[in-house]
Amino acid sequence: MTVQTDDELWSAIGDPSRRRVLELVVSNEEVSASWLAGRVPFSRQAVSKHLVVLERAGLISRRRRGREVIYQVEADRLDQVTRAMAELAAQWDQRLATIKRLAEAAHAENNHAANENRREL
């Protein structure tokens, strides 16, 4: 999976309210939309919309239990996302470390050249 180009996924967890919903699903395993609606400061309709987006991004799935619709997290998908994000962050850490090394070497060289010039004067 490439997180970089996965628009649905990015949009899905880009919204703070949706992240709250996802977090509630993850921490409570199996939940219904009405249960969720009682725990967030926005409407039942908003909760339903967030659930649709999260489901489309593959982060949660639903099934019927009696007369209720129950939502649960898609653990593999979430795991994939977490790992891909960690990988991107690690790539940037590596790049920044290389920039640091290059800049500090260039700075040391500049200082050295400046000292040489002073000595010659």
């Binding site: 795991d79 500090e104 260039a106």
Partner: protein
């Protein structure tokens, strides 16, 4: 709608001008970023970056020496980076004394591009700890439930 952002930073023992050159010179870019870089560092300039057998077009967005440099890039070969299909990489350099520079990079999803700087700032302020923190927390919750 906000997108996803990765934020990292590092403290460098060199003056801001030296760090600026390291971040923006095409020769230097090829040492810390892509294998091959064809880029003129001017706002709106189009270039190309290659990573092994992958690569794609790059468009320079902001050039404000020695503090801000940003470009859009696209992982998909061939597609022209623009609003709606690309990632924005923003470097911010802040001097900390004469010989020390803080370098911050933010790579963000395209949804964020439509935001004003003030909106981005507010979003960042409201979500300190950022994405890493949120996802780490979810991963921890997940692990707890899977083992339980």
């Amino acid at each position: 709608m906000p997108g996803l952002a990765i934020e990292r930073e590092i403290l460098i023992e060199a003056p801001i001008e030296v760090v600026w050159r390291t971040v923006t010179d095409a020769d230097q870019l090829s040492q810390w970023f892509a294998d091959r870089v064809e880029l003129v560092v001017e706002p709106g300039a189009r270039g190309f970056m290659e990573f092994g057998d992958q690569g794609g077009p790059v468009v320079v967005e902001t050039v404000d020496p020695p503090n801000r440099f940003s470009f859009r890039w696209n992982y998909a070969r061939g597609a022209e980076p623009g609003v709606g299909n690309s990632m924005l990489v923003e470097f911010t350099l802040t001097p900390e004394g004469e010989e020390r520079t803080r370098l911050r990079v933010v790579e963000s999803g395209h949804e964020l591009l439509a935001w004003t700087d003030a909106e981005k700032q507010r979003y960042a302020d409201e979500h300190t700890g950022g994405w890493g923190g949120y996802l780490d927390r979810l991963a921890t919750l997940l692990a707890k439930h899977q083992s339980g």
